[in-house]
């Protein structure tokens, strides 16, 4: 274990992975309870268009991915509010449009498919120092904002109408929640890739919810599940040369099964 930590690339991977996994898992609890579980998936598709644009014009794909993702998130909310479109359909319309943009750019530009794949499937072991800084900064912003608005987000997740009658600005918080999701997806795109970023948001939260405990403990279990899967996934990938993102998600899926069994046993 000490040997792993002596390598710079592994240090970067652990730091990025742990901070990002924490942000994903905390946000995930709110999203799953609000029935927004697939919002992260839609925003990841939207980010793909931004990444392709960034690579094409040779600027940091994080910037364009973040721009696409945040604008897309707000676009989904507006489409849902102002038209006769349901939220899942709104996510589909905007995410597929952006995905189409990404594929179109990739096909006309050519030559950067390898780069694009590293964003789709993640490449945490090859992450650059500048990317570590951006990913960690984004994840820390998400954790800080969730901490600041914790009580309001909790009340809104439980009962939006009552929260509103307590003076909580639920419209603003809903926008904040989707913007945080957009930021989280981008922070996780080098860790597990855009295709699996949403899994890092949904699976730990789904596992934690099986334990039927208090809200605070649920957040802690979600974070612990997520961090454990990332650390273990990195260690396994190092020793056995597995694909990191796939290993992390499979570990998360395994922990969800464990949570299901524990819940069933306790219910007897």
């Amino acid at each position: 274990m000490i040997e792993i930590l002596s390598y710079g690339f592994m240090q970067k991977a652990f730091v990025t992975g742990i901070v990002t996994a924490t942000a994903c898992s905390l946000l995930g609890v709110f999203l799953v309870l609000r029935r927004y579980a697939l919002m992260g998936d839609g925003l990841a598709h939207i980010s793909f268009g931004g990444v392709a644009l960034g690579i094409l014009f040779n600027f940091m794909p994080y910037t364009s991915a973040l721009l696409f993702s945040i604008l897309g998130a707000l676009g989904i909310l507006k489409l849902k509010e102002k038209t006769l479109v349901h939220s899942d359909t709104a996510i589909a319309i905007i995410s597929y449009t952006s995905l189409g943009i990404g594929i179109f750019i990739a096909s006309i530009a050519g030559g950067f498919n390898v780069d694009l794949l590293s964003y789709l499937f993640g490449s945490i072991l090859a992450i650059q120092t500048s990317e570590v800084a951006v990913s960690v900064a984004l994840a820390l912003i998400v954790i800080a904002v969730i901490s600041l608005f914790y009580h309001d987000l909790f009340y809104m997740a439980f009962d939006e109408e009552s929260a509103k009658t307590s003076g909580i600005k639920t419209g603003m918080l809903n926008s904040l929640l989707v913007v945080l999701t957009a930021i989280t997806v981008v922070s996780a795109m080098r860790v597990v890739g855009l295709l699996l970023a949403s899994a890092l948001i949904v699976l730990p939260a789904a596992s934690a919810l099986q334990y039927n405990t208090s809200f605070k403990k649920t957040l802690l279990i979600s974070a612990a599940t997520s961090v454990f899967s990332v650390v273990t996934g990195l260690v396994l990938a190092y020793y056995y040369d597995y694909a990191v993102s796939g290993t992390i998600i499979l570990l998360n899926a395994g922990l969800f099964l464990v949570a299901l069994v524990v819940n069933k046993v306790r219910a007897r």
Binding site: L33, L148, H151, E161, K164, G167, L209, S214, K216, T218
Partner: protein, 256 residues
């Protein structure tokens, strides 16, 4: 004398020419009445009569399209003193059975209307949470998960959540739906005690016969306001649904 004293009572809610429609379907038309401090108002009417819509307009949950609503003298659009308001929503629409929350966490939500940013709920608030739970007779259930409680117990927890901010007025929307009769009786008695302590109560119910036993005033809706008056006037208007004067009503009359 009694009438004069009533005239002096402070109006906490004033509705004037309130109208509301879902598309072309008018659900409320020309609703004008006011609620005074200390009232225990039963807002009654059959299903689909516009009761819940009116309640949501009063609480600012729906945008007001026509007419005016004032809370404590302030227009609903600019009302910000939410700590003065306690709201207990319909049970059926409220609880996600798997929601991970203890009773204490739910009650603590009610403190948020009195907190400023960044909102922190700490050990200093534990006493308030315990007191609110004691008021509704649920102090032993603080560490239970909300989903483990029965419907009647959950409603008591929501009342505790509404009471913890020490509101001046408590709104309850069909709070006893799906709750057995014994639990309903003790629930309404609790509301009576709260009203005697000075909290104005607005109780929405389609169960006209049951709640008129407890309230001091009745507003009967069916798109329009069909009746508004005190218990005695309601008995003259609708003897079929009138119960004998309750202790609550007698106390109210004694207070003038």
């Amino acid at each position: 004398m009694q009438i004069e004293q009533r005239m002096e009572k402070k109006k906490v809610i004033e509705l004037k020419d309130v109208q509301y429609a879902y598309g072309n379907n008018v659900v409320l038309s020309d609703i004008t009445f006011s609620i005074e401090k200390g009232d225990f108002l039963g807002l009654i009417g059959p299903n689909g009569s516009g009761k819940t819509t009116l309640l949501k307009l009063i609480l600012g949950l729906y945008p007001l399209k026509a007419g005016s609503i004032k809370l404590f003298g302030t227009d609903i659009a600019s009302f910000r003193e939410w700590a003065m308001i306690g709201y207990v929503p319909q049970k059926a629409t409220n609880i996600d059975a798997i929601f991970p929350s203890t009773v204490k966490e739910v009650v603590a939500m009610g403190l948020l209307s009195r907190k400023s940013f960044p909102k922190i709920i700490g050990s200093a608030d534990d006493g308030k949470i315990t007191k609110a739970l004691k008021t509704v007779g649920m102090e032993r259930f603080g560490d239970k998960r909300i989903g483990e409680l029965s419907g009647g117990q959950q409603q008591r927890i929501f009342i505790a959540r509404a009471l913890i901010s020490e509101p001046d007025i408590l709104f309850l929307d069909e709070p006893t739906t799906g709750v057995d009769q014994t639990t309903q009786e003790s629930f309404y008695q609790l509301l009576g005690e709260l009203n005697r302590e000075g909290i104005t109560i607005v109780l929405v119910s389609h169960d006209i016969g049951r709640i008129t036993k407890y309230v001091t005033k009745v507003a009967s809706l069916n798109t329009v306001l069909e009746f508004y008056g005190n218990h005695k006037e309601f008995c003259a208007y609708d003897p079929e649904h009138c119960h004998e004067e309750s202790e609550q009503h007698r106390l109210c009359l004694d207070r003038g």
